[in-house]
């Protein structure tokens, strides 16, 4: 192992289903205490990668070590130290909330008293105590998601893995979930998540990996990625006139002409904005901060995916 701050180490990790290769020999490390994100479009290989990490899918080739243990031979030991929050609703609809936690705790061989105490703590942390006797069917989407995350913490894991944690949630619920994940991170929990929401990746993740077609396109912190791939500021011109286009093309700036829109990257390096506004009096000329979405689109292209 590199050092004892490395929680996950993947080397040339590959996953294929028959002829289809979902994950093409990727390598990455996750340090303790960070929030590490896998960002990418549908079909990028994020869920396949994550499933290998929590042992739900066997590794086709390459090495994967979690807590310094080999996933191929010590999956059980690894699983007892992690918490997993799947994309689907895996709560048990036949049981009420409290029982869901108690039964789940038993899978880790946690005794009943400890399970009950931890359950109440977790329900309190996620502001769901009054729901302890509710049936799963009565809960809203946001509550279900918070409960699945809470349940994943019953064994006090060192690593929390979340697959699309806020998919389908309304803005209030999303922010609640983010707040709780931030709080957990403050407590020292290492978090691994997959998402295709740029704002989620930008606000939660310390380290990011952008994936597409089973490969890693870029890795780094959100700010580092923005610095490298788009610059911090962008000028967007809607319906640029031909003179403006020609003018920009004559300049040595990083640009992208989409026809109805002209995008200029790293605008902070030039005094371009004021220049454009005074020369072309174009009211649809906008200077804004670059976001992960811009990075993402630069790296993965703008066409629709199948």
């Amino acid at each position: 192992m590199d050092n004892d701050q490395t929680l996950i180490k993947a080397t040339n990790l590959k996953k294929s289903f028959g002829d289809f290769v979902a994950v093409r020999e990727i390598s990455f490390t996750v340090e303790k205490g960070v929030c590490f994100g896998f960002l990418g479009p549908n079909g990028a290989g994020k869920t396949s990668t994550i499933k290998m990490i929590y042992g739900a899918s066997p590794v086709t080739a390459g090495d994967l070590f979690v807590f310094g243990l080999d996933i191929k031979t010590q999956a059980r030991a690894i699983k007892s130290r992690i918490g997993v929050c799947q994309q689907e609703n895996t709560l048990d609809p036949d049981l009420n909330v409290l029982q869901n936690f108690e039964i789940f705790a038993s899978y880790f061989n946690i005794d009943k008293k400890t399970a009950q105490d931890r359950t109440m703590e977790l329900l309190h942390f996620f502001a769901l105590e009054q729901r302890r006797n509710s049936k799963v069917a009565e809960l809203s989407g946001g509550m279900v998601r918070r409960l699945i995350i809470a349940r994943a913490l019953i064994n006090q894991p060192e690593l929390l893995i979340l697959d699309e944690p806020t998919i389908g949630l309304d803005p209030q619920s999303r922010h609640q979930v983010w707040d709780k994940l931030e709080a957990l991170k403050q407590q020292g929990l290492t978090i691994l998540l997959t998402t295709h929401y740029m704002d989620e990746a930008a606000s939660l993740c310390d380290e990011l990996v952008i994936m597409d077609n089973g490969t890693i396109l870029a890795q780094g912190s959100p700010q580092a990625l923005i610095s490298k791939y788009t610059g911090h500021h962008i000028i967007e011109v809607t319906e640029p006139g031909p003179d403006l286009v020609k003018y920009i093309q004559g300049k040595d700036v990083w640009q992208e002409n989409l026809g109805h829109r002209l995008i200029i990257y790293a605008a902070e390096e030039h005094d371009l904005y004021r220049d454009l506004c005074s020369r072309f009096a174009n009211k649809d000329c906008l200077l804004r901060s670059a976001s992960l979405e811009d990075v993402f689109l630069i790296l993965t292209g703008r066409e629709l995916r199948e």
């Binding site: 739900a56 899918s57 007892s80 992690i82 799947q86 609703n89 895996t90 039964i103 061989n109």
Partner: protein
């Protein structure tokens, strides 16, 4: 093929028991009423039309002939349906197995826990049915008490074969095939409602390959207080049947759950 089963399968069993207890009233009433209805229908009403049946060297009443068969059918139905429809709904619709697999439980333990749960359901309802049937005076104690462990064995056998089907069906509707081509013929032709001797010889021989035939034979003999060759052969058959179907079920379900 590497199998790795620890005592943890009990957790899966406990989960199913917790759910069962929530609906205990329904789960209790059914094995209570069901044999009652069948016994009254066939035992009392049919007996107007059917004279005594020849069993071994004796003539027995029709109602005493079918009572143990009704228990055997119940054993088969409980475990088979629990490990087909029941397990499929948990696996496919409720994603219960997905949640379990992210914990220290592995697939072999999940499936073992499910099969043992199916057998437990068979056991519970057999005890209830024995009590009910005793009131008709058709049970010979104490030999009939052996029906209880045999019920568990029968439950394992039918649960395991059910689980084999669960590993294969793509959608839940496809269970119709094993139900109509396996369960229903056994229900009718395993020496349940009429003796095997009523069938042509070739059919009798086919019946002897089927698990329900042997379960009925064992229960019927025990119910009459006999511990004879039928009982030994039947128990051996059920044990061998289980020893073949359980590994197949574990292997195929593992392949289905972990891709």
């Amino acid at each position: 093929m590497k199998m790795d089963i620890s005592w943890r399968f009990l957790r899966v069993w406990q989960r199913n028991l917790a759910v069962y207890r929530k609906n205990w009233l329904i789960n209790f009433l059914l094995p209570f009423f069901s044999p009652l209805f069948y016994l009254v229908a066939f035992g009392i009403s049919f007996s107007v039309f059917i004279v005594n049946i020849r069993y071994d060297a004796n003539q027995v009443s029709y109602i005493s002939f079918i009572a143990p068969a009704i228990i055997a059918i119940n054993i088969m139905n409980n475990s088979f349906f629990e490990n087909t429809y029941g397990s499929f709904v948990r696996m496919y619709y409720q994603k219960t197995f997905d949640a379990m697999m992210s914990t220290p439980l592995n697939t072999e333990e999940i499936i073992t826990g499910e099969i043992i749960w199916g057998a437990t359901k068979s056991l519970i309802s057999s005890v209830i049915m024995l009590v009910v049937i005793s009131f008709f005076g058709v049970v010979s104690y104490p030999a009939a008490l052996l029906i209880i462990p045999v019920a568990f064995l029968g439950g394992i056998a039918f649960g395991a074969v059910g689980m084999c089907f669960t590993s294969m069906v793509k959608i839940i509707d496809l269970f119709s095939f094993p139900v109509f081509l396996f369960i229903t013929p056994m229900f009718l032709f395993s020496g349940t409602f009429f003796p095997l001797t009523g069938l042509p010889v070739w059919a009798q021989q086919v019946a002897l390959f089927l698990p329900l035939t042997h379960l009925v034979n064992v229960l019927r003999a025990l119910n009459y207080g006999l511990f004879n060759a039928d009982v030994l052969i039947g128990i051996c058959y059920l044990v061998v049947f289980s020893l073949i179907t359980i590994p197949i079920a574990l292997f195929k379900m593992k392949r289905r759950l972990i891709k």
